[in-house]
Subunit: 197 residues, 2 copies
DNA sequence: AAATTTTGTTGAACAGTGTTCAATAATGGT
DNA sequence: ACCATTATTGAACACTGTTCAACAAAATTT
């Protein structure tokens, strides 16, 4: 059987990540197997390991793309609207992003990291997104203290994360009969009211 | 090879659940396999399926025990202390409970439910615990409106859940450099201050 | 007490997973 | 034309949840 070299290394790498994203979008995180990815790119499962250390490594690279894509929810927010309305719109976009693609969320936050910590760019990327949130929050609260501004952004995110995390795991209704949108908006309103003082 | 009947059905059932909890505590959620459980109880993997529909069903029964055990964090709270201190102690206990046994948390909240919803007793059990939290919160806030009291308890729990969920997934440091205790206490303080008005 | 039914237990198998590795084909350099 | 490097693969390994025919023990009926 012929085994021709088909793609330069970097192109194959990107093709694999494309396929992985497609599978996550179309079939969910459970369907993301080495053999399934390989099939989509016209290779064999073993080939994945020429390009990636492990499936866990591959997932991290998928997350890199997700984190990059997430930056888009900050662009083209309605300029004229008051800052709290823009915050609400941002929240709406974040939820929509994750609900449109729950498997990306599962890849980002699911699973249990063993020992290894995340690469530096990973932490930096998350921190960047959180910084954007902090800035928007600041426009509402007028908070001048840097540490407090960070803490407020972190607290807001943690609460929203808790709600979405339960929702995507189909467990939100264990905690509340309210739908996700309602819950997160209530959290936002509550925190804004608190932080403004 | 001899295949004697060893245990009455119900005893075997409990022995299996005991073994499952032991494995979760000692070796983590990844080590919880049908064969590992069977080995501990001196049976074969196939026997598990005489007693439980599936591993997923077995997990739900483990969670039943966890939810029952969780009720213990409410007992013997310092009676004399002011209600906000008791709330803080409760929070401390909840975190300790989950940190002492992260695999129980993973079983409770990890994984992705396919279609099936939870049994009724499952929802009721969670709701009961949340009701306890609502009552304690009420002692601090004096909130008279039932709906608002529920909403406050839900919001508090969601935020705490978000933080613990990230922490046990070794991802909290992506969001904040603060340790878990510090973050959750800050959230509690912030919400108490808000709800009290 | 003997025969029969019901129940409990198991070994072996199936299809699937991530991962490794020797063997082979294609490519690039001399 | 030869060689060295690189890319690709099939086959295997150890593992997973799950099923099922075969058999042993217990319970029931005769």
């Amino acid at each position: 059987m012929a085994r021709p070299q088909r793609l330069p290394r970097e192109e194959l790498r990107q093709a694999i990540l494309d396929a992985a994203q497609d599978i996550l979008r179309d079939e969910g995180v459970d369907a993301l197997t080495a053999r399934a990815i390989a099939k989509r790119v016209g290779y064999t499962a073993a080939s994945i390991y020429n390009v990636f250390e492990s499936m866990s490594d591959l997932l991290i690279e998928v997350n890199r793309r997700t984190l990059t894509d997430l930056r888009l929810i900050f662009v083209d927010l309605p300029e004229s609207a008051p800052p709290d309305v823009r915050l609400k719109e941002l929240l709406r976009r974040y939820i929509a992003f994750m609900q449109r693609n729950p498997a990306l969320w599962a890849a980002l936050f699911g699973g249990t990291r063993k020992r290894e910590s995340f690469p530096d760019w990973y932490t930096a990327s998350v921190r960047f997104l959180l910084g954007q949130l902090r800035d928007m929050l600041r426009e509402v609260t007028g908070e001048t203290d840097d540490a407090r501004a960070w803490a407020q952004a972190e607290q807001l995110y943690l609460a929203v994360h808790g709600a979405i995390s339960l929702d995507l795991g189909r467990r939100l209704d264990l905690v509340t009969p309210q739908p996700l949108n309602h819950v997160t908006e209530a959290i936002l309103d509550m925190m804004l009211a608190r932080f403004r003082t």
